[in-house]
């Protein structure tokens, strides 16, 4: 008796799992179908395995791309391990992975030899300044105010600086509680870089994956940890990437950009920032505090590091195929997971850079 009940349950479970799988694969098909047709034959014949690791910031996007690639090229297996930009660069430098993801450019101390890598920009995403303040659903902040808030020079929400940024809004006297990342993070790096660029005179903590935050601030692990801290306290504020801020249902502030406009964090604002940024010859660029009226100024870029010369021509072919897929077919997925795609001009440059790989 028991056994039949059990087997029925198992059957039901299998059926549900099968349904779920079917749902996933059909969804994958619809997202890749329109764009994949051009390259489908080339991809389907690929077989092999690539290992990569690095930045956690674009991880959601890369995982979605890898998932959809599985449908287009069933024998081509890519794994991306999100261990952080620093650790990713270390692994790349010691040859453990075929390519690496990084939010920051390579420095001398990263353990990656000069000339052993090419930058390929892939996506960008806005970093929101999320807040939790009862009765306030629209907030505007200028970079200097933002710098003062995160340095604990402004401690209440009705401080004159915040009031000046928000004409016509009544702000409560609630105490501000600042949340930041406890782990070293490219998000912190980009956020502090932005403050250092846009509020150079007011911001004194410099920039980096971790900075010396004042002692009376709070720290949470990863984006979700920061989002949770903001949600937990009335008067909370912190920086969270767009997808996590949306998932947590947080409100975000409009930030004053270089052209003096207050812009909310959106994917369009991020793409505008990429278009406004000056791209260097090695394809690194700085979209933080970029020019343009529609630009959202706290936009973070992310790159893949690929080798200019792989010893094995087959490996080179696989890397090129994957990165090309990320840059072209993957674009359709980006918006779903809240990442901004490259503007057309930059995408063309990235593809040209990829051709140098052999």
């Amino acid at each position: 008796m028991n056994r039949t009940v059990l087997s029925r349950r198992v059957l039901a479970g299998v059926a549900i799992a099968a349904l779920a799988l079917a749902g996933c694969s059909s969804k994958g098909d619809t997202t890749t179908d329109p764009s994949a047709s051009a390259d489908a034959s080339g991809l389907a014949s690929l077989s092999g395995e690539l290992k990569a690791s690095g930045a956690s910031f674009p991880n959601t996007y890369y995982q979605e791309v890898i998932l959809s690639l599985k449908d287009a090229a069933p024998n081509f297996k890519v794994t991306y391990n999100s261990i952080g930009s620093g650790a990713g660069k270390k692994e790349y430098g010691s040859g453990l992975v075929d390519f690496a993801g990084t939010d920051s450019t390579v420095k001398d101390t990263d353990g990656v030899a000069a000339g052993s890598y090419l930058y390929i920009p892939t996506v960008a995403a806005p970093i929101t300044v999320s807040y939790n303040l009862k009765g306030v659903d629209k907030l505007q902040l200028s970079p200097v105010t933002l710098a003062k808030i995160f340095q604990r020079e402004i401690k209440t929400w009705n401080a004159p600086e915040i009031v000046a940024d928000n004409p016509g809004v009544t702000l409560p006297a609630t105490a501000i509680s600042v949340a930041h990342r406890s782990d070293g993070s490219g998000t912190t790096n980009n956020f502090t870089k932005y403050l250092a660029a846009a509020a150079a005179d007011a911001w004194k903590l410099g920039s980096g994956d971790t900075v010396a935050w004042p002692a009376d601030t709070q720290a949470g692990a990863k984006n979700t940890g920061v989002a949770q801290l903001i949600k937990a306290a009335d008067g909370g504020i912190g920086y969270v990437d767009l997808s996590d801020a949306k998932d947590s249902g947080l409100a975000f502030a409009a930030i004053k950009n270089k052209d003096g406009q207050y812009v909310l964090p959106t994917l369009e604002g991020a793409t505008a920032a990429l278009a406004g940024a000056e791209v260097k010859d090695d394809l690194t660029f700085n979209p933080l505090n970029a020019a343009g009226a529609a630009t959202y100024p706290i936009t973070a870029p992310t790159y893949l590091l690929v080798k200019p010369k792989y010893g094995d021509p087959k490996k080179a072919e696989l890397v090129k195929a994957f990165v090309k897929y990320v840059l072209t077919d993957g674009k359709a997925i980006a918006a779903e997971v809240n990442y901004a795609v490259l503007p057309t001009e930059l995408q063309a440059k990235a593809l040209a850079q990829l051709d140098k790989v052999s």
């Binding site: 261990i83 660069k89 406890s182 010396a212 935050w213 601030t217 709070q218």
Partner: protein, 328 residues
């Protein structure tokens, strides 16, 4: 016939000698392997941490891992005192809370509890030891920390005016992620360790000692005080040291609930940081001297653990000598 054969085999001379030698070699190499591994860990860690060792590393509580002014005169500062302080404070809270509870549970189990309840409680406590620390950490930030916030506020209001207690129980952090919360979570984590060892130790007290105490007209407490505790003091201290070691090395649970503020303050209701917590938080994005500094903190933790163990041995030996003296 067969029996004779066997005995002939056993008594055959060189065979026994070879087996004996082999056994000796195995045991000695196993024993030395531990020392060699420990030495290698220490050597490689010190070597990798060497670039970060400076006066600041051991004496400063300033932690600025980035270069705040780019090419300017400011340099990164890797001072570890705040983390060391946090580790010691949190472990101290854990031990102070956990020891009376664990010893109480162990005494209850060995001296008071009826057999049926005893097995149930032992199973439950062993289960507690099997809970992964990340679960304690998540429980800590989602349930314990928010719930303790108001308690801290109340304690601060009641005790805030008293000189010493007032500085210990200062203005609480609203999120509840504090030294105290981390210490309490750790206390729960080390209770099973201390309890199970203390229970074993109490069970070794000779029945004759206890009977003698009874015969002299001792009450139950007098019997425990006079017969059980002196006999098991060394073992209980050993149990506490094991628990302390666990508390000092605990990483994830502490990283989640301690609040990650780099500061030294007497206020137990403030956020702080601990050595293992900062290592796990910042390892992923560290490079160069920063990485060395994190490894260096591992060395510091290693050395402290060894020191604590040595001190504990010293304490145990002193106490045992004194008690044996009293008994004689």
């Amino acid at each position: 016939m067969t029996i004779l054969d066997k005995s002939a085999q056993l008594t055959r001379k060189d065979r026994g000698r070879h087996a004996d030698r082999l056994f000796w070699a195995l045991c000695v190499s196993a024993g030395f392997a531990v020392l060699v591994i420990l030495a290698l860990i220490l050597i490689t860690m010190v070597k990798q941490a060497y670039p970060a060792f400076s006066a600041d590393f051991f004496t400063s509580s300033t932690w600025i891992p980035n270069d705040p002014d780019g090419d300017g005169p400011g340099k990164p500062v890797y001072g570890t005192l705040a983390f060391l302080y946090g580790t010691l404070v949190v472990s101290a809270i854990a031990v102070i809370v956990a020891v009376p509870v664990s010893v109480g549970i162990a005494l209850f189990l060995t001296e008071l509890a009826p057999r049926r309840i005893r097995t149930a409680i032992v199973t439950l406590i062993d289960l507690l030891a099997a809970v992964p620390s990340v679960v304690f950490g998540l429980w800590g930030i989602l349930v314990v920390a928010p719930a303790l916030g108001p308690v801290y506020t109340w304690l601060h209001d009641v005790l805030g005016g008293i000189p010493v207690l007032g500085s210990l129980f200062g203005e609480p952090r609203s999120s509840g992620r504090t030294f105290m919360t981390a210490g309490l979570i750790l206390a729960i984590m080390i209770v099973p360790i201390i309890t199970s060892i203390a229970r074993e130790v109490f069970a070794t007290v000779p029945d004759s000692d206890k009977q003698a105490a009874w015969a002299l007209g001792a009450t139950r407490w007098e019997m425990i005080k006079g017969a059980v505790l002196p006999h098991s003091f060394g073992g209980v201290v050993g149990a506490v040291i094991l628990g302390l070691g666990r508390a000092m090395g605990e990483t994830i649970a502490v990283a989640l609930v301690i609040g990650s503020s780099v500061q030294i303050t007497a206020n137990l209701f403030e956020s702080g940081y601990a050595l293992p917590a900062i290592i796990v938080d910042q390892w992923g994005e560290s490079t160069g001297v920063f990485t060395s500094a994190l490894i260096g903190m591992g060395v510091v933790l290693f050395v402290i653990t060894v020191l604590v163990n040595l001190v504990a041995r010293f304490v145990v030996r002193r106490a045992e000598i004194r008690m044996r003296g009293a008994a004689a």
